[in-house]
Amino acid sequence: MKRHLISAADLSRDDAVLILDTAEEMARVADRPIKKLPTLRGRTVVNLFFEDSTRTRISFEAAAKRLSADVINFSAKGSSVSKGESLKDTALTLEAMGADAVVIRHHASGAPYRLANSGWIDGAVVNAGDGTHEHPTQALLDAFTMRRRLVGPDAGLGKDLSGRRITIVGDVLHSRVARSNVHLLTTLGAEVTLVAPPTLVPVGVESWPCEVSYDLDQVLPKSDAVMMLRVQRERMNAAFFPTEREYARRYGLDADRMAKMPEHAVVMHPGPMNRGMEITAEVADSVRCTAVEQVANGVSTRMAVLYLLLGGSEPAVATNHARTEENK
């Protein structure tokens, strides 16, 4: 049986809650004198990174190591991958080395899906971000962070995010974080609103289970959590918005805007932050901003994912990739 985490859309509500509950138990391990569990002893997890992302890689590395797995970091930089070795040959190499799981970050959307479904490898594939497609573990850690903050670490166990209003702001078009979050948060019962300049909202967004707004100020008072996406300055050159200053003025989160949010509402950011662009330093450093917490929660969440995918003879999380090959 295949066992992969490619898209947040593959997770049912119960799967997602199980992952969050498991992450909650994993988080408690971090408070112990010995932060290590023997659970994945003898298993090999490969971090296959075709794209630089030290943050995500060390998060997965810490998660795998806390579960006693052997970790191999395979970076495309400086390896034969950058000299034209194909994804397939890399996959076959990892397979020959006996990888039980491959955590893959790739600049091409769909590369993890290909890896999982091509028959090149037997191990579990975990998508650690593919192109502008998805980043499901980021969405899980975001949901985990929200549940902890909005419901409570203990009170949240077994619960989803029903009725919570989540606003995602920024470059939705190029954001794998946004795509995964829309899927997952909706599955968990939250109401999602995307806020962005129209140029940064994908054509076809009308099929997504969320609202779209171009006006941040209108949405803020009705938000339980506001997730600010990183906006790359290069987008300006492709005419997605006129200037950084105008972007920050219309879509950046500063203290005045934060004051419009309800008392309990939190500010989230997947990092790395562009201070002064989508978020001011004042907001980034405020107690309402969960950016640092999200990093810590990332390890617990990824431990939960690795445990549930690798901890047994078959995964506890049902993932089904039997997507239609036929179009009728």
Binding site: S86, L87, K88, H106, H107, A108, S109, G110, A111, Y113, R114, N117, S118, D130, G131, T132, H133, E134, R176, R179, P202, V203, G204, V205, E206, S207, W208, R323, T324, E325, N327
Partner: protein, 428 residues
């Protein structure tokens, strides 16, 4: 030369008739024809069509012989019922000189499976900057009449205008690959609901439609004719319909895959579905079928685009665009147009033989099945049902989107000027 009697064939899908071929030409068409001295082929109610003509084939030779050669490509063409193919110019070197087009033309002649009519590049190196020696290619032994930068769009309006004007001198036609380059930078698939979900760069319909709109207006302005390659959107259909209603001399083609497949298939991230122009939506597919039926779209052209396995056995973004199509085209057309009641077999003959030959000014092909005409014929077992198995392809490449799919119809015999190139479904 020998005689062949094809007995009991439904000529263009009509009543069963006998067709007697003598040498390179059709000698007689009728019932109860005598078989003296002739090899008899019992057609048994199969459909007899004029040899198919493909206005849009990539034979890859010279330069990419790892994906296809003139030999393997023409064998694939014969297998699919074709007796003539137009070979696109995007080879290495580009077919932008008389020397290259003559080489391709000669290779087709030598191999003898299917006539090969080279298409000349509109601009040097397909770079869209300087006109190729269009006249020299026309005057060469290859007698080029169709010019295209296919694979790339002639996006400079001035170059396009000049090309349209220039080829009038010798009755040529420019076949435009309509793709606005800036709107399709990084484009990976049709822009819409599916691309939004998959996070693949969107290829908007407007990138095709805006170029077609411009080019039909240019053709009207300079009084030239223009041919639109692989139309893929409902909007493009509307523009061509409007242009024709104004009397603009425009013709258009659609590929078999755009008549059947949609962008939903891309959800598999399987690069076998990666093609230029991209697979569109069901709404587009239905509009294209309707347009092909009502004549807005004139012809079916395969855009047969072979690629070696390694160019498809990879992640989507790294994969090459294109699908092979010569060996499945007629089956897909039967499936999408004939069996849906949109076209009869005479209509298929018009769109896959008569009209493409006329657009390409190709003598000796796309002729009626009548005494005195060249014996370019295709016999089709339309009752056949089979699952597509690329292992059996004559093409050097296997990048078909139909693997494992059941499709109707099978070419049992192909005759090129009276000589069988396919017998009982096998290459002769």
């Amino acid at each position: 030369m020998s005689k062949i009697l094809i007995r009991g064939a439904k000529v263009l899908g009509g009543e069963p008739q006998d067709v007697l071929v003598d040498g390179e030409t059709i000698a007689e068409v009728g019932t109860g024809l005598g078989a003296e001295g002739a090899q008899v082929i019992e057609a048994d109610g199969k459909i007899l069509l004029p040899g198919l003509v493909d206005l849009h084939t990539h034979l890859r030779e010279p330069g990419r012989e790892d994906s296809e050669t003139v030999l393997t490509g023409t064998r694939a063409a014969a297998s699919g019922g074709y007796t003539a193919v137009f070979a696109m110019a995007n080879t290495f070197p580009v077919a932008d000189t008389a020397g290259v087009v003559e080489q391709v033309w000669r290779l087709g002649k030598e191999h003898g499976y299917c006539d090969v009519q080279p298409i000349g590049a509109v601009t040097v190196g397909l770079e869209g900057k300087q006109l190729s020696e269009l006249g020299a290619m026309h005057d060469s032994a290859a007698g080029v009449t169709v010019f295209s930068d296919d694979g790339k769009c002639v996006d400079d309006a001035v170059i396009m205008r000049r090309a349209l004007e220039y080829v009038k001198a010798f009755g040529g036609v420019v076949a435009q690959h309509a793709q606005e380059p800036r709107l399709t930078e990084g484009a990976q698939m049709n822009e819409g609901v599916v691309s939004a979900e998959l996070g693949l760069g969107g290829w908007p319909a407007v990138a095709e439609e805006s170029v077609i709109a411009r080019d039909v207006l240019l053709a009207e302005h300079v009084g030239s004719r223009v041919h639109i390659c692989h139309l893929s959107t409902a909007g493009s259909v509307e523009i061509v319909r409007w242009a024709k209603s104004r009397g603009i001399d425009v013709t258009a083609e659609v590929t078999p895959h755009h008549l059947l497949l949609t962008d939903e298939l891309v959800r598999s991230y399987n690069p076998v579905y990666k093609v230029n122009p991209p697979l569109r939506t069901e709404r587009d597919v239905l509009a294209l079928r309707e347009a092909l039926a009502d004549g807005t779209i004139d012809i079916v052209a395969t855009d047969h685009a072979p690629h070696p396995h390694e160019d498809k056995d990879c992640e989507w973004a790294a994969a090459a665009m294109g699908m092979v199509g010569l060996e499945t085209a007629l089956s897909v057309v039967q499936h999408t147009m004939v069996e849906t009641g949109l076209l009869d077999w005479a209509g298929v003959a018009e769109r896959m033989s008569f009209k493409p030959a006329r657009i390409g000014s190709l003598a000796g092909h796309g002729r009626p099945i009548a005494p005195g005409e060249p014996a370019n014929l295709t016999l089709v077992d339309s009752a056949y049902r089979g699952v597509v198995d690329p292992a059996g392809f004559a093409s050097r490449s296997r990048n078909t989107p139909y693997e494992g799919r059941e499709l109707p119809g099978r070419v049992t015999h192909t005759f090129l000027r009276g000589r069988a190139t396919v017998v009982d479904g096998k290459l002769a």
